[in-house]
Amino acid sequence: MDVKEVLLPGVGLRYEFTSHQGDRIGIIARRGGDFDVVLYGRDDPDEARPVFHLTDEEADTVAQILGAPRIAERLTELTREVPGLEAGQIHVRPGSPFVDHPLGDTHARTRTGASIVAIVRNEDVLASPSPAEMLRARDVLIVIGTEEGIAGVEQIVDKG
């Protein structure tokens, strides 16, 4: 999709795109973290009609609603296509030996063949984390692999 980005000096950034129905939609990302969603009218293409204003926190929530299920959806679709492949979630307990250690230290893929494809931390999703990414207590790891592989990663994260 083609998204146009325009700098608004002193205000922030404006993103613009056209939806499949032909609506020209604009999103103003303000410096303070707030967002405005606007719609461009058809009679005056330069005039933005405000649709709604989101605070920092509200925008995060909306992003999650729009974004998070799609990650999960895509993963299940992917695993369905390959027989034997599963997706699983593994919780990092506060007592795990890898808390505050880089993800790479687990050597999960070398040891089990399963891949950690995302880390869910509080409200954020870190997609395809690098081996240098630090693990934190209460992270949730999204793992793809065989059933045994996923169980193996769980074992490693729990006990080292």
Binding site: P9, D44, E47, A48, P50
Partner: protein, 385 residues
């Protein structure tokens, strides 16, 4: 410690009056600046109510208002935004200077003013009010409009032009010759480039000097450093305003965001005091005779700003109605013109009177024209505020 009940009461009454009048102005989507000026005019020299005790405080606080206005303006800017504005809108900035500085200069010349006064009048009619216009775009819900980047870019470039112009004027107004003035301007431009380089390459180091998790610490550090830099640049005849602007430019990122937040309320208070001080220093009896000239000058420079806005918006490929919106949005003059008056006011009372009534006219007419020419603010879902 001697508590002066006269000072406390007068100041309190002043601020309360400003709050009530400002709220009334905001109800009609007007800028509160003319209201503050009006309050100053009616109270000070030749006004209806003398406020001797608070007057002294207002006069002391006014320079702090200028420093804070410029500091927060500098905090708003980043090198990228300046570079982008320069790339897209350098011709617009040229048109802006030529069209809008000329009427002021010509008016000064026709009225038989001296060189410094002519230069200051050119500045007064040139510079739009970033403060009033940013607020206006927000109130009229035009931030998302396609002409808005052009408007904001023109404002950014004007503000930077001021950083070169103010030292020039400051030296001349304090009786220096042209050579010293140009030297002052070159020093200021050099400092501007240095501040930009500093913020670009070592912004986070500079930030670390003042950064502190505690808001109080951050406030004291930023304010302390800014006031000292402002004093030094005033001593070098480069104008305190420019020094404060440079400090603001140097701070970037997270520190700048937080500094903006903690300084905001302080800026609002002292900016109001600064506007009051301008009103206090001018005798309203001197304003009436120059009002026709101010109105004529206002009509001409409203037209020239309109052309500037149309030109800038057209460069961005905006259609006719958007061009008109851009043009009318730029008409308002305000704090910068008043800073210029503050610089030359003592040396040249004629300029102070004419320019004050001019700003008065433009700070009222600008928002009104922007509101009615560009069409009403679009109605949208969730217009709660």
């Amino acid at each position: 410690m001697q508590v002066s009940e006269a000072l406390l009461f007068q100041l309190g009454a002043l601020l309360t009056t400003l709050a009530v009048l400002g709220a009334a102005a905001r109800r009609f989507a007007l800028s509160p600046i003319p209201v503050y000026l009006m309050a100053g005019l009616s109270l000070g020299k030749g006004g209806i109510l003398p406020v001797a005790a608070a007057g002294e405080f207002v006069m002391t606080g006014a320079p702090i208002g200028i420093v804070l206005l410029l500091l927060t303006l500098g905090l708003e800017f980043s090198a990228t935004e300046f570079a982008t504005s320069l790339r897209h809108h350098l011709p617009s900035a040229g048109v802006d200077i030529v069209l809008n500085a000329t009427p002021g200069a010509v008016a000064g010349w026709v009225l038989g003013l001296d060189g410094v006064a002519i230069l200051s009048m050119a500045g007064v009619t040139y510079i739009s009010s970033s403060g009033v216009i940013a607020r206006l775009l927000e109130d009229l819900r035009r931030l998302g409009n396609r002409e808005t980047p052009a408007v904001l870019s023109v404002l950014v470039l004007e503000d930077f032009a001021m950083a070169a112009y103010l030292p020039l004027l400051a030296v001349l107004a304090s009786g220096g010759n042209w050579l010293e003035a140009v030297a002052g301007m070159i020093v200021a431009i050099g400092a501007l480039v240095a501040a930009f380089a500093a913020s670009y390459y070592w912004g986070h180091h500079v930030g670390r000097l003042v950064a502190h998790p505690d808001s109080e610490q951050l406030l004291l550090r930023v304010l302390g450093i800014t006031l000292m830099v402002a004093a030094i640049s005033e001593f070098l005849h480069a104008s305190a305003a420019v020094g404060a602007f440079l400090v603001g430019l140097t701070l970037t990122g997270e520190t700048a965001d937080r500094a903006r937040r903690v300084l905001g309320p302080l800026r609002d208070l002292f900016a109001a005091i600064f506007f009051l001080a301008i009103g206090l220093a001018v005798d309203p009896k001197e304003l009436l005779p120059v009002l026709p000239v101010a109105l004529a000058l206002g009509a001409v420079t409203a037209a020239t700003k309109l052309v500037t806005g149309i030109y800038a918006a057209r460069r961005d490929g905006v259609a006719r109605r958007g061009q008109l919106r851009a043009g009318t949005a730029l008409i308002a003059r305000g704090e910068f013109s008043l800073i210029i008056i503050g610089l030359v006011g003592v040396a040249s009372p004629a300029v102070a009177a004419l320019a004050t009534s001019y700003v008065f006219v433009m700070a009222i007419a600008g928002p009104l024209l922007a509101r009615f020419v560009g069409g009403p603010p679009p109605a949208g879902a969730g217009v709660a505020n």
